[in-house]
Symmetry: C2
Subunit: 346 residues, 2 copies
C-alpha cells in the first residue's frame, strides 16, 4: 500500500545509516594499515587499492565466501573469526595453484550497519591477512536493507597471489602417486547449512550448549573453529618442488575436490580408515542419519587438504609438514584401471 | 523446537541443491570462455584463476557490489543487466586510479540456486567483461539458505587492473582546475534503498508500471538502466596524460566523491545549473520530499563521473570525449579560500 503522507524520506529513513558508515571508516583504516606489506602502495579511501609487482609474474586469483558459517557467527555473537576463515580459505585455494598470497579485498554486506560488528569481521580478515603475509588493499561495506535481515551479514573475499612454486596439478599426477591428508580444524567453511539443520533444528541445541561428546566446548566453539591455512606447513615442500597437486577439501568434500586434480584414466583410492574421524563429524553423521559417500561429500570429515606426492618425495613432504607441528595422514594412492575417487572403508 | 523423528537429512533437505550447482557449472564455463583474453591462462574449475602479467606492473584492485539494485532486478525478473552494472562500476573505480582492467572475479550468493537466474547474472558479468576487455578468471556461486530469501541474491565483484596512465589524483589537483561532468545513465548503482522506498512504498508503483513523466519506459526499465563504463570515452584523454583526477560519483554523490580527490586547502565549486537534472531524479526528489545538498548526496543527479582537468587541457578532453559520442558538462572549478565541495544553484 502506498505511503501517501507528504513527509520527507531521507536516506536514513530508507534504512541506510551514513553516519555509522563514516564512523566505521576510521576504524577500518587502522585495520587495513596493520596488513600493509612492502608492495602495497595505495592510500586508504582511494577508488582502488594499489599493489606494486616487482617483476613479470603470473597471478592467481580466487573469490570465495564462508557459506552459512556467517549465520552461526551471527547466532553466537562471535564476529571476529569468520574473516580469518575467509582469508585462509582463499589462501588454500590459490596454494593449490602454486601461488603465494599478495593481496586481499573483502566484501561485507549487511541489512543494518553495526560498526562494532563490521569492525570485528574486518579485524578477523586483517588478522588472517597478517598471518598469511597478505596486504588488505581494498574492500566494500554495503548496507542493504531488504536483502539482509537485521543482525545478518554476508562476507566474500578476493585474493590475488603470484605463482611462486611449480605445482603441476592434474597434468602432474600419475599412477602410483601417494595421497597425504592434512588434518582440518573442524568443518572449515563447508557443510554449514546441513550442520545447522542437524544441530539447531533437529537436535534442538543452542550455540551456548555443550557440544555432544566434548568436555569443554560449546556448540558455537566447535562450529566456529577457524579454517586452517596450509600455507606455512606446506611452504618448505612447495619450495622444494615436491608437490604434484593439492586438493583443498571444500564444497563436495574429498570425492568432489580430489577429482579436480585427477587426470582422465586414473583413479584415486582413499583409505578412510587411515584417520580417526573427529567427534563433531560423528555427531553430525548420527544426527543427520547420513553415512557412506554422501557424508564425505557433505563434510571434510577431518581432512582439510590432500597433497598428491610422487612416492620418492613422500618422506620429505611428511617430514617438512611434521616440522611445522601438523600431523600427516597416509590416506591413499592413485592407480590406473578405474575412474574417479573411490572411498575405501565407508 | 527440535525435529526428533529419525529420518535422514541430506544436503538437499538442508536447502542446498548440488545437482542445480553442477548443471550451472557447465553453462558458466561457456560464459567465462567468452571473456578470455591473451593473458588469462587458467583453466575453468581450477582452485584459482591464473593471469600472466608480462612485465613489472603496478596493479590496482577494487571490490564492489551493486547495492539493492539486485532487489529491483529480482522484483522485475530481469537478471542479465546487474552483472554489467557491477563490472562497469568496478572499471570506473580503478579508472580513477589510472588503471586499465585486466581481470575480474564475481561472487554470487543466493538462498536457493536457480541456474537460469545465476546464468543470466553471470551473462551480464561476462558481457561487461567483454566490453571492457577484461577476463573473467574466477568466481564463486554460493547457495545460502537462511541468509537470502528464495528469489533474492547478492552480487559482488572484484577487479584487478594495471596502472596504465598517469592520473595524479588529489596530489595533482590545483586551484584553477576545471571540473568536467560526464552524464550518468540513470542511478547507476547508488541510492536504490531510497529509490525503492519512494517509488514502491510511498508512490505505490510496481516494476511494470509506466515511470512517471516517461513516455515509453516502465519503472523497472528506468531503475535497471546499466551503469555506464567511462573507460572507452576517457581512454584517449587518459593516454594523452590530460587528466588530473577522476571522481566516480557513487555512494555519497557529487559532494562525497569529489571530496576524495580534493587536496586540503582547496574548494570545489559545482554549478548544478550547468546540466538538466534527468526526469527520474526529479521524480525521486519530489517523491521523497528531499531537496538541496541531501539530494545530491543520495543520487548522482545525472553526473556519473567528474574529470578534473587543467584549464589548458580542457578543450582537448572535451573533444576526445565528444568523439566517443558522450556529452560533457562544464560544471565547475577548484579554488582556494574554502574547503570541501560547494554546490551552487541548489
Amino acid at each position: 500500500m502506498p505511503d501517501s503522507d507528504g513527509s520527507r524520506i531521507s536516506y536514513g529513513d530508507a534504512g541506510v545509516d551514513l553516519r555509522a558508515a563514516e564512523d566505521l571508516t576510521g576504524r577500518l583504516k587502522a585495520l587495513v594499515a596493520s596488513t600493509r606489506t612492502a608492495d602495497a602502495d595505495g592510500e586508504f579511501g582511494s577508488f582502488g587499492g594499489r599493489f606494486r609487482l616487482p617483476a613479470a609474474t603470473e597471478l592467481v586469483a580466487s573469490a570465495d565466501g564462508v557459506g552459512t558459517k556467517v549465520l552461526v557467527a551471527a547466532m553466537a555473537g562471535v564476529h571476529d573469526t569468520v574473516g580469518e576463515d575467509l582469508v585462509n580459505h582463499c589462501v588454500n585455494d590459490i596454494l593449490a595453484e602454486g601461488a603465494e598470497p599478495l593481496f586481499f579485498l573483502d566484501y561485507y554486506a549487511c541489512g543494518e550497519l553495526e560498526p562494532d560488528v563490521a569492525e570485528a569481521v574486518v579485524a578477523g580478515v586483517a588478522r588472517g591477512c597478517r598471518i598469511n603475509g597478505c596486504a588488505l588493499i581494498g574492500g566494500e561495506t554495503a548496507e542493504m536493507p531488504g536483502i539482509y535481515e537485521p543482525g545478518h551479514y554476508d562476507l566474500a573475499g578476493f585474493i590475488v597471489g603470484r605463482r611462486a612454486w611449480e605445482v603441476p596439478g592434474k597434468r602432474g599426477v600419475t599412477a602410483g602417486a601417494r595421497l597425504l591428508g592434512l588434518p582440518s580444524s573442524g568443518l572449515h567453511t563447508n557443510g554449514y547449512s546441513l550442520a545447522r539443520k542437524v544441530l539447531f533444528d533437529r537436535m534442538g541445541l543452542a550455540p551456548d550448549d555443550p557440544f555432544p561428546g566434548e568436555l569443554d566446548a560449546r556448540v558455537a566453539d566447535v562450529l566456529l573453529k577457524v579454517h586452517r591455512s596450509y600455507l606455512a606447513p606446506l611452504r618448505p615442500a612447495l619450495a622444494a618442488g615436491a608437490v604434484r597437486a593439492l586438493a583443498h577439501i571444500t564444497g563436495g568434500g574429498i570425492p568432489g575436490n580430489l577429482l579436480r586434480v585427477l587426470p582422465e584414466g586414473l583413479e584415486a583410492v582413499v583409505d578412510t580408515t587411515a584417520w580417526t574421524v573427529p567427534n563433531e563429524f560423528r555427531v553430525l553423521a548420527d544426527g543427520a542419519g547420513l553415512e557412506g559417500r554422501e557424508l564425505y561429500e557433505a563434510f571434510n570429515m577431518g581432512v582439510g587438504l590432500i597433497v598428491v606426492v610422487a612416492p620418492d618425495r613422500l618422506a620429505e613432504v611428511k617430514d617438512t609438514v611434521a616440522a611445522s607441528g601438523l600431523a600427516t595422514i597416509d590416506c591413499g594412492y592413485v592407480r590406473t584401471g578405474g575412474e574417479g575417487v573411490q572411498l575405501d572403508g565407508v
